[in-house]
Structures are given as C-alpha cells and as structure tokens.
C-alpha cells in the first residue's frame, strides 16, 4: 500500500503553496533577530555506582513488581514468576536469550502437563509472532515476556527498541501482563546517558511503570489500555 494514499493526497495543490507561505512568513518574522547559543550546563552523566539499586527502587515506585536476582538465578526467577501469574497464552518474541527461553518453555509445558488438558484455547501455550499475529490474536494472548534495550536508574524507566528479544511495539502493549528482564549492564544512571545510547532510527518505547490514569478525580488507576501489570526481573 506504500504511497497510494500519498499520491492521492493534496501534495501539489494546497499544501505546496502552504509550504511557501509558511516559510516566507517565518523568514519575515525572525529577520534581524539575534541567534541564541545553547549552554548545556546540566549533568550529562551521573555516577553509575548504586544504579541497579536505584533502578529497582524507582521502578517499584511506579507500583511495578520488581525482583533483583543474581546471574545464576534468572531462569528460576522467570519460572517462579510465570508459575505465580499463570498466563495462559504467553507471547515470546524471537531473539530472547536461550537460557530465558528455555525457562519459559519448561514453565509453560509444566503447567500444560499439570492441567492434563489437550492444547487448545485456555491451555497454557507459547505464542510466537511468526507469522505476524493479527491484532485480534494478540488480544487473545494474556502475557508477554521481553528483554529491553536499556534501563534508566534515575527515572525507573525501561526502554524497548524492538530489537532481539523484544519484538514489535504492539507485543508489549496489547497483552495485560508484561514480564521484562533487565540485565545490570543495561542500566544507565540518567536520561542523558540513555538518549546517547539509543538509536533514533528504531521505534522506541519508554516504559515507566504500568499504564495509568489520574483522570477521575485524580485517583491513580493502573492499567487503562496498556498492561495492567508490569513485572521486572533485574539480573545482576
């Protein structure tokens, strides 16, 4: 479908003249105005010591569920978490580290075997985005597990860049439960460090706690459209 709507769109007519009008008005408006230099006297890097603890604390401040585990414990932590949440249909993006993927498979298979049921709707199953899931299929999933591009300690933010083990943006949006695994070496101290590391050409999603609204008498309610539960496993 690329370009079809654009070809029929009013490019050459109204908008071409709009473009010239706007640009000439701008030229006239700022003529003779002095330029302004930008001073960046703010912190562009902060001490990374204690970043993991700070990250854990700040993510938890958003009412996300946080676990900090040692490197050897990550598979166990993933399995325990999935046992507790028991998502029936768990979306697993391609490119998840094999150790985590194995933990996911055995947790889901164990639950399916426990239930003794035939695979079918409602039975525990892993859902892959290959071939690409339709919106309705994605809506039928109730959880997703991903890695991330990086974490920001000062703000408790996780950034996804649709890279390996993260999948396209909708995967972490439609299911009601998001389990995210963050490695300690992915955690940076502040926002400037994060912006410096990220690639603007990739679609980015910055996540700071579960979806929330304060629109009704300023009462905070978690989970309007995005996942109502965000669970984060931090691996030292």
């Amino acid at each position: 479908m690329s370009g079809t709507a654009a070809e029929r769109a009013p490019r050459a007519g109204v908008s071409a003249s709009g473009r010239e009008r706007i640009l000439s008005r701008i030229r006239a408006a700022v003529a003779g105005a002095p330029d302004v230099e930008i001073t960046r006297a703010y912190r562009t890097s902060s001490d990374p010591a204690g970043a993991v603890e700070l990250f854990a604390e700040r993510v938890a401040d958003y009412r996300a569920v946080v676990h900090v585990v040692e490197a050897g414990e990550v598979a166990g932590a993933i399995a325990a978490t999935l046992d507790r949440r028991a998502p029936a249909r768990l979306v697993v993006p391609d490119g998840l580290p094999e150790e985590w993927a194995r933990a996911v498979r055995s947790a889901v298979e164990a639950r399916a075997a426990d239930a003794g049921a035939e695979p079918g709707p409602g039975a525990a199953a892993i859902v892959r985005d290959e071939p690409v899931l339709s919106a309705a299929e994605l809506d039928a999933a109730d959880g997703v597990i991903t890695g991330c591009a990086l974490g920001i300690a000062e703000t408790g933010t996780i950034v996804l860049d649709a890279g390996p083990g993260q999948g396209r943006r909708a995967l972490t949006l439609v299911p009601d439960y998001h389990l995210c695994v963050v490695r300690a070496d992915q955690i940076v101290a502040g926002v400037p460090e994060a912006v410096g590391r990220l690639d603007p050409a990739r679609p980015l999603t910055w996540i700071s706690g579960p979806s929330a609204t304060s629109d009704i008498e300023l009462n905070r309610v978690e989970g309007v459209h995005g996942p109502r539960t965000l669970e984060v496993v931090i691996v030292r």
Binding site: T4, A6, D35, I38, A41, T155, S214
Partner: protein
C-alpha cells in the same frame, strides 16, 4: 459541540469566570487537582540538582530553534521523507483539516481513532471530519468523558477535572452505547470500574480502526523523529495498531537534535504530571513496522506570534500545564472561562496572539491575571508570562485608564527586583486588600473573595527554600 472548537462567540472571560466560580463542584475539583499536582511537581523538581541548568538549556534550545525555524523545518521534512514518511504543510486550520480529511478518504475509511492533541482541538479537526462523514473517536479517558458528555476540556492535563465520579458514571452509562460498546451492567462509580469500562469500550475500536490521528510533543529535525508522551497507553494503541498514522504538529514543536531530548524528557514529565517520567513515551522515525505515515506541519497563527518580539516566547511552551496549577485566577475561574483549548496563564497569552484580539473574549484574556508571577517561576522553559500579558494589554483595545495602569504594571514587571519588592509589599498589605478587584477583574470577584495574596511570595519562598529543596 456545534459552536466549533475555538468556542467562538463565547462571552468574555469575566462573565465566564463569574459563572464558573459559582460552580462549587468545579472549584473543588480544580483546587484539589492543582494543589495535588503542584505538590508532586515541587518534590520531583527538587530531586534534580541541575533543574536550573536544564530549564536554561530548555529555553535556549527553543529560542535557537525558533530563530532558525525555516532551516530546521526543511531538515525535518527531508529526514521524514527519507525515512519513508510524507510531509504536508498547512498554513491555517482550514488547510490542515482539508489535508487530513483527504488523507483519511484516500484510505477509504470513515472513522479514525485519536490520541489527545491540542493542535487538532485548536483547528476543530473532529468537527471538520464529521462534516466530511468521518467520525473521530477520542481515546484518552478524559477526552472520552469530554466527548461523550458533549463538553469542553477544562485543563490541559486533566481535561475532565470538572467532572466527578458520579457524573462520569452517568455519562458512561447513558452515552457509551451511542458510540460503540455499551457500559457494563451494574457499573459503579469506583475509578477502577470506570477505567475498566473505558478499556473495554475502546479496545474493540483500537483493534478494528485502520487510521489514527495524533499530535506530538516534540519532533527532531536532525533525525525526523516524532515523540509522544502519555500515561494511559491509548497513544501507543493509536501509534502502533492502525495501518495509517497522521500526525498534526505545530511548527513550534521542533527541536534541532536528538540530543535535545535529554533536556525535554526531564523537564516535561516532572513539570507536567509531577512524575520522574510519564508511563509511556513513544518515538518513531518515518514509516515504521509497515505503517503509512503522514506528518502535517501546522502554522495557524504561529508565524504571527513569531513576528512579535515580546510575544514569541509563548512558542517555547511545551504544554506541561505547570502554570495552570500555580495560577490563583485559573484555580478559581476554571479552564472553560478562557474560551479556548489553551486555558490558564499560557492560554491568556497564546490564544489572543494566535487568534488576534478581535473578539471581546480574546481582548479580555490578557486581563485574566493578577500578574503575581507564579506562572513564570513554574514554567520549565522560563516563559515570562506576566511580561507578555502586560505587553498584550498595551495592544488590546481597552479603556485608556486601564492602559495607563498597565504601563505602570509594566514598569514593575520589567524589573524582577521591583516585582519582588511589590510582591513583598503586597504580602504585608494583604489585610488591606479590597474585597472587589478593580477594572475588568471585578466581574469575577463579584461572586468570590479575591485570591489571597500569599504571606510569602512564590519567588521569596523559592529563593529561601532553594526551589523547595530545603
């Protein structure tokens, strides 16, 4: 909303404000909202040791961009096009609406989902699309409440703050069925229940609608990237699920480089919702994940604002709403009195500049302030709102005596030291303050006590406590 988006023909600010101050529900809600957010904001701002430097950089980045706007807009156009997107230019509201309507029609669709965007409210896009047989569905919880209630937003950040939970329950119960999935049986007025009803009502729509319309908080000239900050996830739904995405963005939303986000992603969430970071921020560059992307660059009066040497600083605004939450006039009068999508102190300087001061309402807006200066102190990009107000008062057609008075005020406000002195004096004299304000403000004090002059001005408090840090 037959009156259109710009609320034209609304009575002037004093009459609206007088009506609003009598509405005790609105006043109670607004007071609670502004004070709660104000407190949260102060504590997360105080957390950053370099807030002053970030604020200075924010101001300079915006001023530098505005000075070089032509160059950066052309760079933006090139970068978006190179990344597979399409760029359109709209000199005014009519052109923008025409472009969006034609783009939607070209897809063959008759409905769009929308994520809150002040620019599209400003141009009356929903009404324009309606006239072309296209239904625009708002998807922010607050905007949904406003749309279902056939109502106007009253606050930039919490547009439905004038509604309480039982009113919202009633609106959902009565109106949801007309717009799509009906409210569940036995809907209570618990916020959790109401949010779940909205989730269900909108989920079907997100999954099936093929075209989305958004605004953007920032666009990056260097890379062609668009940036949207939000809380609920409806933005992500609109940005990722539909096949076609149309973003209508004011030309002043531009930032030169990717790096500039490191400043604004600290300034905006903390000033706005008083959080260290908002729940979701999405960035995308051109057409991504198979989507078709259109960017509509909107002027609609902005170049006119840019031409005013004093007034152009209003274009730095990042719509955080911090100035609303500290404004004593806004707190009492409410957002509707400003007769525009831009309420509060920023609305008082932006609306008359964007629209000109032809109507009684717009000419009265620069007077909708006590010039206390709290908005300037709170503004993350240091817009000197009192200065612009005084400047606009000089231009508005008002009685000569008032213009003279304003010139005196201008004298006070042109010098921060004089302002500080005047405020301290006001603090000491506050028990002598008359019950009625003089001039155009008397209309709204007719029914209300005038705002208390704080014993200690914001400026003094700020200095004494190091921005609330102590």
């Amino acid at each position: 909303m037959s009156g259109g988006n710009t609320f034209l023909g609304m009575p002037a600010f004093p009459r609206n404000a007088a009506a609003a101050v009598q509405d005790s529900q609105l006043r109670f809600n607004l007071r609670k909202a502004t004070h709660t957010i104000r407190g949260k904001r102060a504590s997360v701002v105080a957390e950053l040791p370099d807030w002053t430097e970030l604020r200075a950089a924010g101001k300079e980045i915006k001023d530098h961009t505005l000075r070089n706007l032509e160059r950066y807009l052309l760079q933006m156009e090139e970068a978006v096009t190179a990344a597979g997107g399409h760029v359109h230019w709209a000199a005014d509201a009519e052109e923008a609406n025409r472009i969006v309507a034609d783009l939607v029609k070209a897809t063959g669709e008759t409905s769009v989902v929308k994520v809150k965007s002040m620019a599209t409210q400003e141009i009356g896009l929903n009404e324009a699309l309606q006239a072309e047989g296209i239904t625009a569905y708002e998807t922010d919880l607050a905007e949904l409440i406003v749309q279902l209630g056939d109502d106007w937003p009253s606050h930039i950040l919490v547009p439905a703050i004038h509604r309480n939970r039982s009113e919202i329950r009633e609106i959902f119960h009565d109106k949801m069925a007309d717009w799509g999935r009906a409210a569940p049986e036995g809907l209570t007025d618990e916020p959790r229940d109401l949010a779940d009803a909205a989730r269900l009502h909108l989920r079907e729509r997100f999954l099936s609608t093929k075209v989305a319309v958004s605004g953007a908080n920032f666009m990056i000239a260097e890379t062609g990237t668009l940036v949207v900050l939000e809380s609920e996830g409806n933005g992500r739904m609109c940005l990722t699920l539909p096949e076609t995405l149309i973003s209508v963005v004011g030309i002043e939303k531009l930032l030169p480089s990717w790096r500039d986000l490191e400043v604004f992603l600290q300034l905006l969430p903390r000033s706005s919702t008083g959080e260290r970071m908002n729940p979701y921020t999405s960035t995308w560059t051109g057409a991504v994940e198979g989507q078709e992307f259109h960017l509509v660059l909107l002027d609609n009066g902005r170049t006119q604002v840019l031409a005013d040497e004093v007034g152009r600083q209003a274009l730095r605004c990042i719509r955080c709403s911090a100035c609303l939450n500290v404004c004593p006039v806004y707190e009492r009068a409410g957002g509707h009195a400003y007769g525009s999508v831009y309420p509060g102190p920023i609305g008082a300087i932006l609306t008359p500049q964007l629209r000109g001061m032809g109507s009684a309402l717009d000419a009265s807006l620069p007077y909708a302030s006590t010039l206390c200066g709290a908005c300037f102190e709170a503004c993350p990009v240091a817009i000197d709102i009192p200065e612009v107000l005084v400047h606009l008062r000089g231009k508005a057609r008002h009685p000569r005596t008032e213009r003279l008075g304003m010139r005196a005020a201008g004298w006070v406000f042109n010098r921060p030291a004089r302002l500080a002195r005047a405020q301290r004096l006001g603090g000491r004299l506050r028990r002598f303050v008359p019950e009625r304000l003089p001039g155009p403000l008397s209309a709204w004090t007719d029914t209300r006590d005038i705002p208390d002059i704080p014993a200690e001005s914001f400026r003094d408090w700020w200095n004494r406590t190091d921005g609330g840090a102590r």
